[in-house]
Symmetry: C4
Subunit: 388 residues, 4 copies
């Protein structure tokens, strides 16, 4: 690559070389045979576009904000519809870890979602974020907080309230992880945090995550002991009772659950299979999006629909939006940026996606985000399909 990193994959390849195997495996891998890991990406490759031409798309060059969008019903604004997904333990990628990501979020003018399993205190990330906002006064970046509801509800309540007090603007509850998926790479590596790090926001974190048994990753061990496998939609009511923040539910893959989410009155859902790290052979997220959008939009125009998993190109973002998503989250791409070059790396990764996304909009004949809809997708193409 001649030292010049042009694509998300370039960042991935350099990160792969840079990271210790145990860390790289943790970041990269998926559950079981990684069928869904591959499918998340491949499904996007199978979806074909039908660009419109001869449309005035010059706005994307004259207006810096041509891709700006609102989320959370206008309470939040991002420079383009890509949000930083919550990913655990970012200090294994680079020393500044979650702080570096937060700074990049500010500079890219987007939202960072902090993981419950962060290796930095949530208050420290918030302070760093505020500092960066001061340095970059134009930015309207926000922090959101990803929550695993733990068996210990008092502790969980405390986490949520600490987040609220520190200025996080939404709670993203992950609902697809009553237990950790079977990540064999981590088990082979007896994955554990390096000596000098811990999950800073958790109970007795050091003890919990140090594990020397073979065949068990320390993270898995932690989940079994702390994470609550008995959660139901009623717990959303409880969550509402302890926080005023908007609530987004992350990990929906079927329309029936999306409808339950609406009934539970959440503010948004994330169509996600947890980056294929939970249950292998789960359907790819982009393939499950259409029926969710259809079911949801037929009864609710307001709830927001995000999607993550496998997004590596601007065209992937475009496709997700064309199928009806409000915005997308990216997980691993951020990790690779962080690994390669810390804050700058994350910013670069986001800029690559933004540039590719803008170009995709131009070449598809979409001056504004409102023009991005199913008409640019080669679907329902009965004539072609029956013919070929």
């Amino acid at each position: 690559t001649n030292g010049v990193l042009l694509s998300i994959d370039d960042y991935h390849q350099v990160a792969k070389k840079k990271l210790p195997k145990m860390v790289y495996d943790y970041y990269r891998s998926g559950a079981d045979d990684e069928i869904t890991l591959n499918e998340n990406e491949n499904a996007y490759r199978r979806i074909k576009l039908k660009p419109s031409v001869f449309v005035d798309v010059s706005i994307h060059e004259t207006d810096e904000n041509s891709c700006k969008t609102h989320v959370l019903h206008g309470k939040s604004e991002i420079s383009f519809p890509v949000i930083i997904a919550p990913t655990a333990m970012q200090r294994m990628a680079t020393d500044l870890g979650e702080k570096a990501t937060a700074r990049a979020a500010v500079r890219a003018n987007t939202i960072m979602i902090l993981s419950t399993l962060a290796t930095t205190k949530l208050e420290d990330v918030a302070i760093e974020h505020k500092k960066a906002l001061t340095e970059h006064p134009g930015s309207i970046s926000q922090l959101w907080y990803q929550l695993y509801i733990l068996k210990d509800r008092e502790f969980t309540k405390n986490l949520v309230q600490r987040a609220e007090q520190s200025g996080y603007k939404a709670i993203v509850v992950t609902v697809d992880a009553p237990r950790l998926g079977n990540r064999e790479a981590d088990r082979r590596n007896t994955f554990r945090l390096p000596e000098n790090m811990q999950m800073e926001n958790l109970l007795d974190p050091l003890k919990e995550v140090k594990n020397t048994d073979t065949k068990v990753s320390a993270l898995n061990d932690y989940f079994v002991r702390q994470v609550d496998a008995s959660l139901t939609w009623k717990d959303i009511t409880w969550l509402r009772s302890i926080t005023k923040l908007p609530i987004i539910v992350k990990g929906i893959i079927k329309k029936e659950d999306a409808l339950l989410a609406i009934r539970a009155n959440v503010d948004g859902i994330v169509v996600s299979n947890h980056g294929a790290r939970q249950l292998d052979t789960t359907i790819s997220t982009i393939e499950s999006l259409p029926e969710i959008v259809q079911a949801v939009r037929s009864i609710d125009k307001n709830i927001e629909i995000y999607i993550d998993g496998g997004i590596r190109r601007g065209t992937d973002v475009l496709k997700a939006l064309a199928f009806g998503a409000n915005a997308v989250f990216v997980g691993r791409p951020i990790i690779w940026g962080l690994t390669v070059n810390g804050e700058e790396g994350v910013l670069n990764v986001l800029n690559i996606l933004k540039k590719e996304f803008k170009l995709a909009m131009m070449l598809c004949g979409c001056p504004t985000l409102d023009d991005v809809n199913e008409s640019i997708l080669a679907i329902n193409n009965k004539h072609t399909i029956s013919k070929l």
Copy 2:
């Protein structure tokens, strides 16, 4: 793999290294070009899941018996819906052979089906099984007996009655092998039993299975001489007349035959293509299951439907059950366990499947086996399919 065996495939790889080529080939191979051998596994990989989230699945951690199920209409109970398929000549894998498997069945609390072509006397397997039951008093394991109906009906009758007297609880008649399939690997190896073993339950076993012609496996030779190619459903009537045991018919692949099985009043059917060892390009078992379940269930709620072939992961078990199977059989996985570590190996393999299956249930939002149904499968997904 660092010496730690995490998956069925890990066991397969180690077994491959340990076994003489002739034996490994016999255990692994399929008919002709092994298209169905691959399809049996690949068909599972193509089936996608749609997990439900936010369901209380903690029972799988609090209740050891969360996956326990009944078979044979409650006459039998197993700790999870996986049964040991009948596989021939297990002493080639490990010295204790069928006895070791029987002991592992007791410890795993499941059913072992002994093959007619066992390298251990059926009575000896029964004695070992009883001994193990005494050592593990909590276990409710059973033995079933797999039957090839031989030309010599008196001898066949004798086999069945020996099995009944020794405490085997059901007869599993294999109906897909009027002749042995074209297993070229065995023919190239002039497959024969090692000197110190024989098919202990058969007529003049030593003479029959020793064969020095090229291009013919000894087993094939045996089949031509002894196995009856003229069987029809009327022979089930005969079988009923000589035994009180429940009768299960193994090797059904089309719904018409499933209906004939109902008419013949059998207690259960096994949707099986004999592990792809008989007729190559036969449809994969999981792809033939749905139409069989539909046809059978529309006229009979009681007959049990099992399936085998290609099950290597907990998600495979889950899918088979979601399509309507009562339980699954596994063949080669047991052989790999037996090869790697005898009784312990088989137990480990079963424990891996159980653990994976439980996790799959948790991650799919299924607290009980009754929750495992088509709603977790990404099928009839008209919207998505027409779109992509």
Copy 3:
């Protein structure tokens, strides 16, 4: 392979090693990018079987003639529904060439179709065939004659009459070769017959087939000069006027042409794409068979339908018959047998196919050829297909 040849592919591999590249390439290759060459075989692999079980199939062991069938409305009989396709220049494979094939046809009790482009005089092949029939009095083998209608109609008439007088029992007119396909391998090799051979039945054969231009195979050169590209169905009328022999038309791929063949009153058609040697990306023969059978059988019960292209296994023969073919032709498999071991090799290849075909019938639950029909195919499987 340990010196033991078990399958058609074994023969292919040994032949590949034995033949000079120019000859091997001529025999093996197809037109352009060989997409149809691969498809002819792969289409069979995609078609899945649904065996019936518990059917008395012992007849295949007790009755040598269990697969015997009639062709040409009973005028001809073959020991199993596989016929030797016409292939040119067999003396390049083995010195005795077409004579060896004819002898093997006698011993295998099937029909050999001699190519117009044979390297042996058609009268000599007929004499050898008769000699072999005397040596094997039980055989009912026949010779048929494959015809290219040449520009020189007098010469063509002469060929047909020589064939009729020599005892050939049918004329197989090849209609898919107004010109030779673009066989790049032959062009790269400047393919030509070895010095000591010629196309013995053709005009000025030596001169015509010797060609030293680059980029042109001698055969191609011959075609341009001699073969008539202006043929139409009217030429069948002409052919009828010069011979009493049954006429079979070889090279039909679309149903419209099959209907024209019926109107032209021919006795049989061969669904063929010339072994993928003519027009690349032509649909595979087995995929075009169903609509041809349907169209033809709805108006004519008598015309016979053969098929060739890509048949390498007994299950392929079974599938072709299940879709409605009366018998199949095999081309390259015969060439590989001839190359490896002359007459014996061809006999072996036919015996392998017969043995595999019989076993496939047994394992599919088909006691007689009449039982081989669409019910053994996994088609129209709406339920399964919509589900998976």
Copy 4:
């Protein structure tokens, strides 16, 4: 290949060896992950033919003009339905560049479309073309001019008028390139024109195309500065106002745009995705052709429909015509011919395509271009498809 080049791919392989990497990459590559680049070719491979047989196709040997066709409603005539697509900077392939291509167009009796980004003055190409026409008096070759509408409309107007005055017979407006696609190969190579060349017809060409920034190809740089991203169908009206030449719009991929083109009263459209160089994962051109043809022909019988992208074989041309195209354009094949052997190379490439196309017509049973229609395609093959 023994020094003999038989196919377009042979030319590609030799060209690959001959060209500097930067130039080869520029010519070969596509946008992003080159999914559409592969699809453009693979889609043709998936389309299967159903040849008619026993049709008199001898005309293709007796009549040199059997494939001659008219374009632009008879105003133009070409020896076979293949036209030279506009490709930029041909002097990187061979010193004489666009002049050599023009000469080959004359000798092959077809149309050459000159790119706006040519490395030769459009007047010089026209002079060379006229010279060649004098040398080959039988030829009826034409030049057409491909236009990028630049921000500087005066300059653009000047270009069009220079073309008209020099004898170019049509304007081909490229509408799929408001910006250059993300061609990573060019970015990695910091693609720029060699020192001794420039885009001869453009403003301040030398300065514009010399760029030493990393991560940006000079061409990309040029596009951002000069090409107008605000074009709409109204600009066709403007174009009409400045020239009398027929106007063809290049880069249509969806039927809605084809209908807009009709409304804008253009003379022809080119179904094109710019050789997969603009937006990756755009649907392949041949897969988008059927619905465009259907939509267009239901309201307009006259507008001409061309297609380009991925055509490498005579059968590809045949398929495009069978789906309703009037003629096809070829881009890269011409470049490979030019690289390997200049004028002769281009002529050879065109002759290969012509020979293959004629042979495909013969083998498909099409005496005239009017016989080339959907009846030769294996589509709408409901019976087969539902069965397999």
